[in-house]
Symmetry: D2
Subunit: 160 residues, 4 copies
């Protein structure tokens, strides 16, 4: 599974996604940005910033930032598989921390919804610098479609 | 398991812990504060702030904030069981999201290290508003002691 | 949390549960037996048997047996909280292996459903020899109520 | 990721692995057999047997059997990446149950060790009937190398 460069079509998708990502104040605060959007691999990114650091002696980004990035990527990877947005909530999320993120480097968080039912979405994702084949963290989770109000309510024509 | 009020002894512990918690820029950014410190239940808190919100329509705090809070509480719950600080890293963390946090309310994250070996620490925690018996999120994780440099290097006399 | 001795009332409950447990051929094969049934702690047990061993050099029971025991205990702990049986399925299950089970000893698997909604049950359990306060394995999981046929269809009067 | 047919070379590997798999009495009891062995995808299988059933009304195999199969596949996937066998233990294992296994059909459990350090092995696996691209269960776990005695002590020349 290799990461994709942004084609013009994807740049358009990316431009479209940014307002949805920033509908969440917390994603705005962290500086989460869209990077690429394929049906089977949706990627967000966070540029390195000092206030995101967990350990000031090493400069390594806090694990909670990685989790937030992957949780968001997982959510959007589900949207990529839906004909229209549905409200949903994270049921559970497992994070495996393989090694520290590299201080100073941009963090990419990619995810794919690998199983979708009328009620549930099973997702997995990876956090990396260069390639999802060399991740520093992995995520696995289950999301459930709810009857609440979705975060994003504007109708999005042609999610994919 | 009920939450404890802060006795003078615990207030002293709390005052001591604040500089260790804020050794992490990200914890400072989120506004993580110590709340109570018992050997079997270490509690951090985050007051509600608009920039922590995940869903602007509901005002519910972003799940990534809850994860960061519980990850920190888990780490400190391990310190409560050690005679002296040892460098460690999170191997994995599972978060169960039972219900949304209540908008506007302070979030408490408590944790306990329930199994400790020379190499590993098994932890669990809960995020709640009123009592850990009514949590809105749960955490379970495994941390490993490493040979790296710890986040906190000043010698802490009498961890407990 | 201490384990309970079986009172006459619980012996009756245990006698009632055995046929439900053995409705599953696999539970029969493993030799799963009911041990105690409280609303907040339902306990099954498996006596040590050579064919359950994972490592013949140590005689330690295979981890898959522990998982099957805890999965069953979790399921029944949910039934303890329901007015009547509902079909359900395991969504996910996390097992933490703290130390090996002791060869030769009976294994107890206790569980509690700590959060119940109309759609989901959040459960946790522990596998132990002497006390759930000294577990050798822990389980955390989420079950979902489905529209399929339940394993147990006879009407059970007074589940608790 | 598609499943592989057994070439003569792999048939030889499979013949070699059977005695290691059956070193575990429990794997023998379940009828676990080797199916294919690639460095990045090690596959075990269990043929359908009535005593493995969890729900007698549907004939669906018990989830604990799936877990045992995937736990074993994960362990062997780690051996595929080691120059020589090292003792190890499962730290934790997460199982996602996507849908029921199909009654009557052989179950395949494949796994890959996707990250290896001197102390840890991070693994993931899938249980399926036809292809790992259409799994009915997924596994993610962390194993730790220990100082105990390995299950398999005969020296295995050329693990791969």
């Amino acid at each position: 599974m290799t990461d994709t460069t942004t084609t013009p079509a994807e740049q358009e998708l990316v431009a479209r996604w940014q307002k949805y990502i920033h509908a969440s104040p917390y994603n705005r605060e962290l500086g989460v940005l869209p990077h690429a959007a394929q049906p089977d691999w949706f990627v967000l990114k966070i540029d390195y910033q000092d206030f995101l650091v967990g350990d000031p002696k090493t400069g390594v980004i806090h694990g909670g930032v990685i989790t937030a990035l992957l949780d968001a990527a997982c959510g959007f990877s589900i949207f990529m598989k839906l004909p229209e947005l549905k409200p949903m909530a994270t049921l559970d999320l497992r994070m495996d921390y393989l090694k520290p993120a590299t201080p100073g480097r941009t963090i990419f968080g990619g995810a794919v919804c690998y199983k979708l039912t009328s009620e549930l979405a099973f997702v997995r994702g990876a956090a990396y610098h260069d390639s999802p084949d060399d991740p520093f963290a992995m995520a696995v989770g289950i999301y459930m479609f709810t009857s609440g109000r979705p975060v994003i309510t504007e109708k999005v024509g042609g999610m994919q």
